[in-house]
Symmetry: D2
Subunit: 160 residues, 4 copies
């Protein structure tokens, strides 16, 4: 899974091609958003050729954790609780987009909302909600020194 | 992870002491249990070399869905809701075991509990709880005909 | 709390057959919203004089169930799953507002989101998020005949 | 509901410093259990004369919080997340019993499981599961001085 971003959003942390963590206008962690896209392949389908609901949960936990890591100033976060409501299925071959938005960025606890939507390449405006998740993170733990390299990588993509 | 798909896995969709949804002794769906094992590799770790919490959720959804599929008599199930509480981390290289147990097997709604534990190969008795999940399934939808092959495969493993 | 039972509350339950919360376009069940207000009294506080988090959950389940009942055309609904994330505390004496919004109104399953916010009577624009809940309902069960009276009462408050 | 406040309830809140729910071996906080009983009256029913699912959630949050308060050595706890799965309904007039058990008592985060069961006064062995909840608490915050009186009250009941 990778992440991309819409220039109109404020701060964004993305891993693949674009994105940001602190914008020219005074950035706040509350505004950080993580966006990622995924094409539904057989690997992430259950036997009925539908996106495995657990993959939606995995995407939610991953994007929220990345966002929480950036929002806490590149300190370590731990997932505490994850709740996912599956709304509609995504079929093999379809494209989905995950957007993680902070609900609350506290010193100890962060709560993120992650919505996964089906995107229609021909009509970018149409985005059907597939699932909605809430992720609770315990934040602000010290990151081990060997994570400095990872931090630099994320910072590169989480550009202004 | 779809545990029963890989013959090398220790998967069983079985009841407490004997067997599966079609055992000689009067089987009840309520007794069906799905067990799967996983070694924590880099693929399923987050950057801190700890098992990605989203992978625990994925395992929970997958094992519960498999159990629900068997418990409903090989009819289609849909994941509706997934809640995962992360209790302790698992490190790179460690072995984990997931056990999905039915809380309620209703005609329309099934609820499964999935516990993931760390197993110590040297002392099989020690099993530290890593996460506990609740999975809500909408069950009893008709399975498409082309799933007959999958059904046969599951039935083969769902017997001791 | 069953918001529409007390005439003093600001409740409105809108559905497809009635009208949505302020929509000029043809209303649909998806647009129905249930709103209720509550003053934090000692009865709903935990011993630390803070709104009991369980009361927030109770409000969420109640408003979502009322909305689901209306959205399904006054048929019976059952709560299946409730997830509440507590964001900030509300203190004794403060006023809170709950808003239940449908995420999906399916034939069998409904998912509602309920946000509870603190309202400042002096500046109605300021609304701090206190909690956010997701409620899963099993819908469309037949309502017993003796519920006709209740249906009429709700219909009166579920005004256009 | 704060079960241990009413002497008529069968509540016991046991902790490491006091005593566990019937354990001959040295008790630990992990073994602390909170039990409360409730008769389903009209007050806690939804309009269909069934126990309001939100009341189950309220009971879960309350019993878990009480347990967490004791388990942390009478320090303040905050509810962070609550997940409730409703399994079966309880009808007007029936008796229910809630049992809160710690899943993990950490320094910062506690996770409690609360099961609510229907009890049949004539056959005390029959206990049908009505709901199962998971409560996440942020623990170990300093309790205000004026809570000393409450602490003493709880300590009185938190002993067999």
């Amino acid at each position: 899974m990778t992440t991309t971003n819409s220039p109109s959003s404020k701060s964004k942390a993305s891993s693949s091609t674009t994105a940001a963590a602190s914008s020219p206008s005074p950035p706040t962690a509350e505004k950080g958003v993580v966006i990622g896209r995924l094409t539904v392949t057989l690997t992430c389908c259950q036997p009925f050729k539908v996106l495995n609901g657990g993959v939606s949960a995995l995407i939610a936990e991953s994007t929220a954790s990345l966002g929480g890591y950036v929002a806490s100033g590149y300190r370590r976060v731990f997932g505490v609780q994850l709740s996912t409501n599956h709304i509609k299925p995504a079929m093999l071959g379809e494209q989905v987009e995950a957007e993680a938005t902070p609900v609350r960025v506290g010193r100890t606890i962060q709560v993120w909302e992650v919505q996964i939507r089906k995107i229609d390449p021909s009509t970018s405006s149409s985005k059907v909600l597939l699932s909605t998740s809430r992720v609770v993170l315990l934040s602000n733990m010290e990151a081990p020194k060997e994570m400095k390299e990872y931090e630099e990588k994320i910072k590169k993509y989480a550009r202004l």
